[in-house]
Structures are given as C-alpha cells and as structure tokens.
C-alpha cells in the first residue's frame, strides 16, 4: 500500500506537469485538442489525489503502522473519527490534504467556468496545476506521507496530539484549509486575465464569487479555531494572537478589503491595479501562512516544528509567485489604467478607501508583529516575544474604527453626499450611539473600550435597521406591497447589498461579544471537598475528586456544583486528562456553563489526590456566546449573498433578517454587570482578588516551559506556569514595582524572552514605531492619491457623448429601467 501511495504521488506530479504544458501550449497555439487534454489532466490530478487520500485514510483506519506518518499520528485505541482526522493532523498529511482540496476546488471552478470564460481557462488550469505541483513536489522529495520505516515496524502508534482530539479540531482545519485553498482560484483567474490581457471586468465576476466562497470558509474556520481554543486550551479566552491564528487572519483581512474595493471597480471602474494587487496578496498570504506554520520560523502552540529545508523551498516558491504575478501586473499596466476620480470625500468610494486602508494596515501590522521575534533573532540574535498585550494595544482602536466605518459606509451615497443628506442619514445612528454611551456612563460602566464598543454597536445596528426600514419603505411605495414583502423584495433586488448588511450585523454582534471581555472576572482558588467560593453571581462548591481511566488515558475529574441565588443550577465536571502516550502534556477539559449573558468557565488547574483537594481557575466570561452567534450570522450572510437569484424569493420569505437585531437590542437592555455576594457559610472560602499589578503581570509575562507555545502565565496550565504565577505573586507581595519584576525576569532568563511584548527601548523601539510608520505612510499615500483623483475631476470633463435627442431611444431607456425593478 505505501508503495502504491508513493507511486500515485509521483504519477500526479507528472500529470500536473503535463496539465501545465498542454494548457499553455494549447492556449498559445489555439489548439482545442491540447487545451481539452490539459483540462482532462487537471481532473486526473484531482482523482489521483483522491485515490492517494483514500490510501492514506485506509492506512489510518487499518492501523498500518509500517507507515511512519500513521505511526506518528495515530494509535490503535484512537476512536475512528480521530483516526480519520489524523490525516490532516500532521505536516505531511496536511500538505496532501491541501493538494486534495485544491484539486477539488480547482476542478469545480474549471468545470463551472469552462464555457463562460473559455479564453481564460487554459491559464487558470496552468496556474492551479503549478500550485498543486509545488505541494506535490514537497511531498515527493521532502515530506512523503507514505514513507515507511527501515527498521522493524513498531507495534503501536504514538497517537494524535491529545489537544487535537477534539470535535472542533476535527472540522476546524478542513474549514480553514478550504478557505485558504479557495483563495487560489481568484488568483488563478486574475493571473489568467493578466496573461491573456482580457482585462475587462468579466474575470472579476468569477473572482468575486470564489473570493466570497473562500472568505466564508475562512471566517467559519477562524470561528471554529476560536471555539477550539476556548473549549480546549483552558485559558478562558478565544483569541491569543498566536502565529497560527494570525496566519489565518492575514488573508482574511486582504480578502475582506478586496470584497469591498471590488465594488468600487464594478460601479466606477476605479482601482483596477489595486484589486489585482489584493487578489495576489491574498493568495500570497495564504501561502505565507502555510509557510509560517509549517517551517518553524515562528513558535506557536500548533506550529509543526522547525524545518529549514522546507522553509527554503517555500521561500523560493513565494519569491517566484511575487516575481511572476507582479511582473505581469507591471507588464499589463497600460491595460489596467483606469480613470480614477473622486467627486467628494463624503462619498462611498472614499469610505471604501478608508476601509481598505484600515484593513491593509491590520494585515501589515499583524504580519509584522508575528514576524518580529524572527526578525529580531535574525538581526540581533535575541529571541523576543510579541504577545497579546502588544497586539491588543493596536488592534483595539483599529477594530473600533472599523466598526465605526461599518456604520458610516452604507449611509453615504456613491460619488457625493451633501450636508443635508448627511444629517438626514446620520441623525438616528448618532442619537443611538450617544444615548447608549450616556446610559452606560450613568449606569456606572467604567471600562472605556467596552463602553465605546457598545455605543458603536448601537450606532451600526441603527444604521442597518434604518437601511432596511427606509429601503423597504421606498420599495413599498414604488411597488405598492406590504412592508414585509417589500423587505424580502429588497433582498431579491439587491441581494449582495442586503446580504452584506447581514454580514455587518454579524460583525456587530461579534464586537458586542468582544466588548464583554472588559467585564471578565477571574479567580483561582484551592478547595477541599465541601468547601465553596463565590465568583460573580455564582457560588461554586467542590464536591469530590474522581480518578478514572479508559484505553487511552487517565482522567482526573473535579465534581463541582454551581449555585445561583441559593438554588442549585447545575453540576460541572472540569478535568485533566493524561494520555498514556503523552503523560507530560495533560489536556484540560474545561467545564463550561453556557448562557446568553455570561459563561461560567471552570478549569481544574491542580489537584491533590490524597486530600481530595483541587485548585480551580474560575472565570466568568460575559457575552462570550455572542461572538459565536456573530460568526454564525456572518456565515449566513455570505451564504445568502451567494444564493442564486431564483432560490431567493422562497429562501428569504422564511428568514426575517430583523429578528437578530431585535434580540440584540433586548439583550443590550439587560444588565450585564457582575455583583459580588456576601455568603454566610462555615465552608465558604473567599477567592482573594489579585491586585491590579499582579493581574497585569500574569498577562505580561509568558510561560517558559517551552512546550506550550509561549502562553501567558495567567493562561498556561502547565506546572512551570503555576510556579511562575506564585513567584510573581511573591514579588508583588514584596512590594516590587513592574519594572523591577521585568528586570528580575530579564536577568533570570538572560533576555527579554519572558516578556509578552518587547520593552520600548533600543532596537525594539522599532516594534513600537513600525505600526505608526506603516499606518502613517498608508494614510499619506491614500491622501495623495485621493487628492489627485479629486483634482482630476476639476480638469475639463471629457466631452459628453453626443446623443441625438431621439425620444424613441429615451422611451426605450425608461422601459429598460422599469424592467429592472
């Protein structure tokens, strides 16, 4: 079987080469025979990769430990679902899975578009096949998943990393990979358009659709990744700015920017070079993300380990992509020239420009901060950490600006809005934002970031609601139907626009959830059986500690009863699982009690079997479920935007889009604040709140155990982190200042590595200055361009096309306009 697998890989490599050669030669010589044959070869690669995947999965299911890859990532006791998931659990298999998915998507894209874009297809095939070829090449020479042991076959496998044995982990990578892979299709179409020179807007449509598909899966994949982190890593949060998470976020930013700026091209024919650049960048970032996670250039929870040779191959491939694609852009610049003009700053075009600037800034900032430790090591030999605190400092205001723009853009008209229009449009949203802000201040909310976020959420929600209501009102007038039919009609008429609003609503709901982070309440406490403690409005009682085991692992489970207002509301079972194959890496099974307002999140941090005592990390996470809900809305919105028009009337009638808004507004009115309780009970142990300094330090110092991927000590569940937490508590108790504690750790480890973000001194000042630099430069370039474009408008207008005043023609135009309704 392994030999067969390797053979299939070799054959697909050859077929890939043939597909490229036949397509390009066919296109150059205008030979339909060769082009068709190339398409056939392209399908063949997909079929062959399916066979290879079948063989590998078969090897996993039948426990064929003769194959190294199977031995390393599976064992006999693993449940079937995880055996199949092991296929993409390691480096070699994930590359193969990548090619398989790319094959499926590529084949589907070629099949769907082979008639409509006949002139582009040969090059589309060639570009996708070239990408596949690179990955197959990797497998053939470097990471063959079918390589076998030279020594006698081991009796059992090492088992999949326990952290990955989780439901979300089984579906999160495929979703993310699909998102990544789907971004290759727009790139292929863009390149084909550049190569053939057919740069009218027809290729854009194919590209936009596939970007939408990719964007949806990327969003879905990122969301599942967040859920996985929340449920499995046990640090009470969902986004830690880990390099691998960032790798998925980077193309998401550029794809989002593209989906917005493409509208400017469609409507106004502007930004053609820019859109092409975004398509190329998005694809490049997907490859770069893969490179980052697979070559070991960055350290992370789920990077695959260091591999300089692989890094080298990837670097060559990336340089080739950049040279090749931007070379063609430059070559075709004369064809891409567009008449850019900006009538007014208060126009939707200008809002889109701002949106693109913010999104691109985010992408560059995240890229820079993710790569900074590597950069610093390469330049100065000092390994640093750029942790969440650094990211959050920048991404928080950026996120808020983005949210603000979400509420502004849709209200502006194309080309130009006057002051009267602006007042008319912004009156209600602005009022809503101000009222929410004042109400929050009056209610005593003093977390400024969350407060502003809530106000902005109200702003955007009112914007969207206003758009729907006014739009439906206008439609009701013109068509004379009832309000609801008019609302559905809005979707039928401009589906993309209103589906886009649903996505925006999803963003708002998600930000609403993010804002809850500001009210997070944490405590850590050791309890003996029968003792209880309070966190937020909950009382948590430790009943017992149980030790059980199954074929794979030993499980230590804390039995916890949760009470609210004196009534028992549920049992929770936080646990630690020690897999026999990997005892040194216990997994944390978090106990989560979900509710729409707040989650109670319990982690079993430590235990003592002899005394049955357990140390719990208790967290109350307000509004966290809104994040998942928002993600769901975003995915639904993007599905709606892709539905074929015919399906629409039926589909929309069943889904009033306003329902979510109402629910959101209702919850906005619920008090989300946490109040402390006083309980008279002999067994009550108060969880001592940490001082602010200690809390801060727990997020500013990272765990140095080397296996957790640089988590903050407040989040890591390993033993060393617990020691470091105690150490920090001791230092704080001794009255040391923040700087002194920093210095203590720098002296202890010999570098700034234990600090979550580099000190703003010396070379590292670059890390702090750079974001200003790129942001400022970007804003300046944008300003200069916009200024030039608006100046051009002042220049004499091109002579208006001379049209004979033919009343018949005018009548026909009016008829056609009426038909569009």
């Amino acid at each position: 079987m392994p030999a067969l697998g390797t053979f299939v890989l070799l054959v697909s490599f050859v077929v890939c080469a043939y597909a490229i050669a036949a397509s390009v030669a066919g296109a150059r010589r205008r030979s339909t025979r060769l082009v068709e044959s190339g398409i056939g070869a392209f399908y063949l690669v997909t079929a062959l990769m399916t066979v290879a995947s079948g063989i590998l999965v078969h090897a996993f299911v039948t426990d064929n430990f003769a194959i190294r890859y199977v031995q390393r990532y599976s064992d006999a006791a693993q449940p079937l679902a995880y055996k199949i998931a092991s296929y993409w659990g390691g480096l070699d298999g994930s590359i193969m899975f990548w090619v398989f998915l790319l094959g499926c998507f590529g084949a589907a894209a070629v099949y769907v578009n082979r008639e409509r874009h006949r002139e582009l297809i040969p090059y589309v095939v060639a570009v996708i096949a070239a990408t596949e070829m690179f990955f197959i090449f990797l497998m053939v020479i470097h990471n063959n998943p079918f390589s076998t042991f030279l020594t006698p076959t081991p009796a059992d496998g090492a088992g999949l990393n326990p952290l990955l044995q989780n439901f979300y982990m089984a579906i999160h990578p495929p979703a993310l990979y699909i998102g990544f892979v789907a971004m290759t299709i727009p790139f292929a179409f863009g390149m084909a358009a550049l190569i053939t020179g057919f740069l009218d807007d027809s290729w854009l449509r194919a590209v936009r659709r596939w970007t939408m598909v990719g964007w949806m899966f990327l969003t879905f994949g990122l969301g599942l990744g967040m859920l996985w982190a929340y449920e499995e890593l046990g640090w009470g949060g969902y986004w830690g700015w880990d390099p691998v998470e960032n790798a998925g976020l980077l193309p998401w930013f550029t794809a989002t920017a593209f989906l917005h700026s493409v509208m400017v091209q469609e409507r106004r024919g502007m930004l053609r070079v820019w859109n092409m650049t975004l398509v190329i960048l998005t694809f490049f970032l997907t490859i770069f993300g893969t490179f980052m996670t697979r070559s070991g250039v960055v350290q992370s929870v789920h990077a695959f380990g260091e591999d300089p040779q692989l890094a080298m191959l990837f670097t060559i491939f990336m340089v080739v992509i950049l040279t090749f694609s931007f070379g063609f852009v430059i070559y075709r610049l004369p064809l891409l020239k567009a008449r850019n003009e900006l009538d007014s700053w208060a126009s939707r075009e200008a809002a889109f420009l701002a949106n693109n600037w913010i999104l691109l800034f985010s992408a560059f900032f995240v890229l820079f901060a993710t790569m900074y430790p590597t950069l610093s090591e390469a330049l100065r030999g000092e390994r640093l950490t750029v942790g969440p605190s650094f990211f959050n400092r920048w991404m928080l205001p950026i996120g808020l600006i983005l949210l603000l723009l979400t509420g502004i853009g849709p209200l502006l008209a194309w080309r130009k809005s006057t002051i009267a229009n602006l007042i008319h449009q912004f009156l209600w949203p602005a009022t809503a934002a101000v009222v929410t802000g004042v109400a929050l201040v009056a209610a005593g909310v003093r977390v400024w970031a969350s407060g502003i976020c809530f106000a902005l959420c109200a702003w955007v929600v009112v914007t969207i609601v206003q758009e729907f209501i006014r739009g439906a009102g206008v439609r009701k007038q013109t068509t004379g139907t009832d309000l609801f039919t008019a609302l559905v009609g809005l979707f039928g008429r401009s589906r993309r626009r209103y589906a886009g609003y649903i996505v925006h609503l999803g963003i708002v709901v998600m930000f609403f959830g993010f804002a809850g982070e500001g009210f997070k309440n944490e405590a850590e406490i050791t309890l003996k059986p029968g003792q209880e403690t309070a966190i937020g409005s909950f009382i948590v009682r430790h009943d017992a500690l149980r030790v059980t085991s199954d074929a794979q692992k030993q499980m230590i489970t804390g039995h916890v009863t949760v009470l609210e207002d004196g009534k028992e509301i549920g049992q929770m079972r936080p646990a630690k699982w020690y897999y026999e194959k990997r005892v040194e890496e216990p997994t944390t099974e978090v106990g989560i009690r979900r509710a729409i307002g707040e989650d109670l999140y319990i982690v079993l941090g430590g235990f003592e079997v002899a005394t049955q005592s357990a140390t719990y990390k208790l967290t109350v996470n307000p509004l966290v479920n809104w994040v998942w809900f928002g993600l769901g809305l975003m995915v639904i919105g993007s599905i709606v935007s892709m539905l074929p028009e015919s399906m629409f009337a039926v589909a929309m009638a069943k889904m009033p889009a306003g329902a979510a808004t109402t629910a959101l507004l209702l919850v906005l009115m619920l008090p989300g604040l946490v109040h402390a309780q006083h309980i008279e009970s002999p067994n009550f142990v108060p969880a001592v709140p940490k001082s602010q300094l200690e809390k801060d330090l727990q997020t500013e110092i990272i765990c140095m155990c080397g296996t957790c991927g640089r988590k903050r000590i407040g989040e890591c569940t390993c033993g060393l982190a617990a020691q470091m937490r105690d150490e920090v508590a001791r230092l704080v108790a001794e009255g040391k200042t923040r700087e002194q504690i920093y210095e203590y750790y720098i002296a202890k480890y010999g570098s700034q590595e234990p600090l979550a973000s580099p000190l703003n001194k010396g070379f590292n000042r670059l890390a702090w200055l750079f974001p200003y630099l790129i942001g400022g430069t970007g804003a300046m370039v944008l300003g200069v361009l916009a200024f030039r474009w608006s100046r051009r408008e002042a220049a004499p207008e091109e002579p208006a096309p001379a049209v004979a005043d033919d009343p018949l023609l005018h009548e026909r135009l009016d008829d056609e306009l009426r038909d569009l309704d």
């Binding site: 068709e36 062959l48 084949a107 027809s202 306009l817």
Partner: protein, 225 residues
C-alpha cells in the same frame, strides 16, 4: 453489504463523470459508463476479498476504488481530446467580446441609475446632485444603446451571411431540394403545391412525416420529398 457499497461507488463515479460530457447527445453506451461499471465490479470484488471487514474499512475501500475509477475516466478524458477532430470555435470573434462588454457596461449604467434613484428616495442624495449624475449616466446609457443598435445591425448582416453560406453548402449536398422547397413555400404563403396533403384533406408542411390533424403517416409525400 456489497450491494450497498456498490451503489455508493456508483454514486461517486457518476458525480465525477459529467466532467467528460460534451455537447453530444446522449446516445447509448458512453465511455464513462464503462468506468462506472468497472469500478462497481472492482469494488465488489475487493469487498468480497477483504480480510478485515469492519463497515468503515469496506466503505473506505469502495470509495478509494471509486476514486480510482474516476481517475481512469479522467485519464481517458485527458487522452481522448488528442485524437478528436479539431474543433474550430467560430462565432467568437473579437466583435462578440466587445458586444458583451458593451452589454455589460449598459447593464452597469442602468443599475447605477436605479441605485441612484433608490438612494435619492432614501434621502441620501440631493435632487440637484441626482439630476446632474443621472443626466450624465443617461447620456452614457443612450450612447451605449445606440452603439449596440449599430452593432446589432452588423450582427444581422453576419447572420445573413452565415445563412447564405449554409444554404450554399446544403445545396451542394443532397438535402438541397427540401430546403429550397420550404423556403419557397414560405414565400408563396404556404399554399404551395409541394405541401403534403393528407387523406383527411389537411395541408401539412412539405417535410412533415405525420399529419398535424389526424396523425396519419404521410408516407408517399415523405418519400417524394
């Protein structure tokens, strides 16, 4: 067990198979049918011979063999075009592309006008701005429509030319008479003596095989035509 899996295998291949269809009419046994049958057969044999027989295992074997069948079909799809007659794609000159581009642009302009109207009714746009912009757009739309009309005239000429070419070709081959006959019958308003008259007295088209009223076979006339 095996029959279930065969069905599954069949399902897989038939999904992959349409990749090879062309504009040809489906007539009887086609190459991909062979691959479907072969993979069903192989899957059945493999399932019978398999040593381990957990359901997951058997399904996996069948799916893999189905994929192999698809691969064989794709291999055929790769080689077949090389021996196929050269298809000259006519009817896609540059003019059609520009025409399509014009159509698209017109659509875009029309939609933009609609959007402007909508924005104005929603109060995002002042009347003065609307008039100015919509006026510009309308002028653009009108000029596009004119251009398209002109282009359409050119298109008609192309169709005429193509028609004449076909008539000439069919004249050269055997079917010339019938074609000319029908053309003449149209010109003379349908009362041509070539028209096939049924026994029931109904006059039918000259190339009709059956009477359009009573449904009787128009044998004699069919033969003469």
């Amino acid at each position: 067990m095996s029959s279930e899996i065969s069905i599954e295998a069949k399902g897989r291949v038939s999904v992959a198979a349409p990749a090879m269809d062309d504009e040809r009419v489906d007539d009887g046994f086609r190459p991909w049918h062979f691959f479907v049958l072969a993979s069903i057969l192989l899957a059945t044999v493999a399932v019978i011979l398999a040593r381990q027989s957990t359901p997951a295992h058997l399904i996996l074997i069948s799916l893999t063999i189905a994929a192999a069948g698809a691969a064989a079909a794709a291999f055929y799809r790769m080689l077949a075009p090389l021996t196929a007659p050269v298809v000259v794609r006519t009817g896609e000159p540059v003019s059609e592309r520009t025409r399509a581009a014009l159509e698209r642009e017109k659509m875009l302009v029309l939609r933009t006008i609609k959007e402007l109207e909508f924005d104005r009714s929603m109060g995002k746009l002042s009347q003065a701005d609307f008039d100015e912009m919509a006026g510009r757009l309308r002028a653009r739309a009108l000029s596009l429509m004119k251009q398209l009309d002109l282009d359409a005239a050119g298109y008609k000429a192309a169709i005429e030319k193509e028609l004449a070419e076909r008539v000439r070709r069919s004249e050269r081959s055997g079917g010339a008479k019938r074609f000319k006959g029908s053309e003449r019958s149209e010109r003379s308003g349908g009362s041509d003596h070539h028209a096939a008259v049924c026994a029931c007295g109904t006059s039918n088209d000259p190339d009709a095989l059956f009477c359009k009223k009573c449904g009787a076979r128009l044998l004699a006339q069919g033969a003469t035509a």
